[in-house]
Symmetry: C2
Subunit: 214 residues, 2 copies
DNA sequence: CGTTACCTACCTAATAGTAGGTAGGCTGCA
DNA sequence: TGCAGCCTACCTACTATTAGGTAGGTAACG
């Protein structure tokens, strides 16, 4: 029951939200130090270098993601529900601004200038995500719930791209609302949410349910 | 015919490709100086501050984009062709690695830590792109070429998100090919191309053409 | 003669990272 | 019980390097 040394967890959590805001080069040890309430040098005690910090950060992120997929495999047997739960998860993260972007999606955009060890972790996340989504589409097709117009892997890639691009759009719309109030009139507030930027269900054909009225 | 002072253009071009590689905080005046073959201080002669540089860079980018949309309006009357030309443009940029990412898409990912003036320009690009795509879908629906399952603006947002997310995936796969040769066996080389990550045609329903065999 | 385009030489702040020290908490042992 | 030894977690104070930016000079040119 001893929450012994949560400091390194605090550092990781802080670094995560800083990365979500501005990527690898968008934050410094000084930024973390100020938030966590510790000295710069103390961060080096926990994470000798910035690469160490971000590599373990992304590794943990990958672990959480894998755990999330496994959880969805257990709790939501229906591929439809698995996909909508996945999107719903990000809907929530964006809506409550707790983590309005995928750490790996943001880092992926800077991939060419990322330290090799970090880049490797980021690539692995994309692999994991892509493989899980592919398996969902495969099973959906096998069970007869999805009528795919492309191979499962292609559908998975398209789905993933739609979600990642939706995060970008949501960020832009969110920032627009913050700084440009004229924007309010043109776009409803809900545009900051993921679901209004992607049409995940149009990347595949749903076989009609019996009760499909809502 | 005088190509007077191409230096500032060189600086802008160099900065553009550096931003495409790693975003706003991923490059410095020193990087530009080395590539252009000029001293750091001389860049300040052309662009007093980094914000000036990037703001005009994004402004020009927006102008080029608007010009491109106008060109597509003239040359490709069919909304189908307009959309596929747009995607094709990015296909080419990614395939020949000339500009494997949209400047504004990359900057948008760092939006929260961007200087306000740059952030504003980035938002304006998204607005322009979104409006143009909306008009394409609108016209396509009016003419009877598209059967939309969502309002034109929603289709436009989804289309845009698919393209942006596809750029991300293409970047990850490209980097994977560079550094992880085992990857070759699993994913064909073409996965670095946009078209294999998005299914733009599945975001809307095409009314069947007469000759729809290819 | 003034403007443009560049230079050298600097500045200040911030970057990641290091050296070395201290306070306190365990462990082992006489 | 008390003390030695060690470890963890932090600190202050520093380093070298890089960041964006400035001051002032010079050479070419219309």
């Amino acid at each position: 029951m001893t929450n012994l040394s949560t400091t390194s967890d605090d550092i990781l959590a802080c670094a995560r939200s800083l990365i979500i805001a501005g990527g690898y080069n968008g934050f410094s040890y000084a930024d973390i130090a100020e938030v966590v309430g510790i000295r710069k040098a103390s961060i080096h005690h926990h994470f000798p270098s910035k690469v160490d910090l971000v590599r373990t950060l992304v590794f943990r992120y990958r672990e959480e993601a894998r755990a999330g997929f496994a959880e969805l495999e257990r709790t939501a047997a229906d591929p439809r529900d698995q996909l909508s739960s996945y999107v719903g998860y990000w809907e929530k993260c964006i809506a409550d601004a707790s983590a309005p972007f995928c750490v790996c999606a943001l880092l992926a955009s800077e991939l060419p200038v990322l330290p090799a060890e970090v880049a490797g972790e980021v690539r692995l996340h994309f692999e994991t995500l892509s493989e899980w989504l592919t398996s969902v589409f495969e099973r959906g097709a096998e069970v007869g719930i999805f009528r795919l117009s492309n191979p499962p892997q292609a559908e998975a890639e398209a789905f993933m791209a739609a979600v990642h691009g939706g995060m970008l759009s949501a960020r832009v719309h969110d920032e627009a609302l913050r700084h440009d109030h004229r924007f309010d009139a043109r776009s409803p507030l809900q545009l900051t949410q993921l679901g209004h930027h992607i049409r995940p269900h149009s990347t595949y054909q749903l076989v009609d349910r019996e009760n499909d009225d809502n």
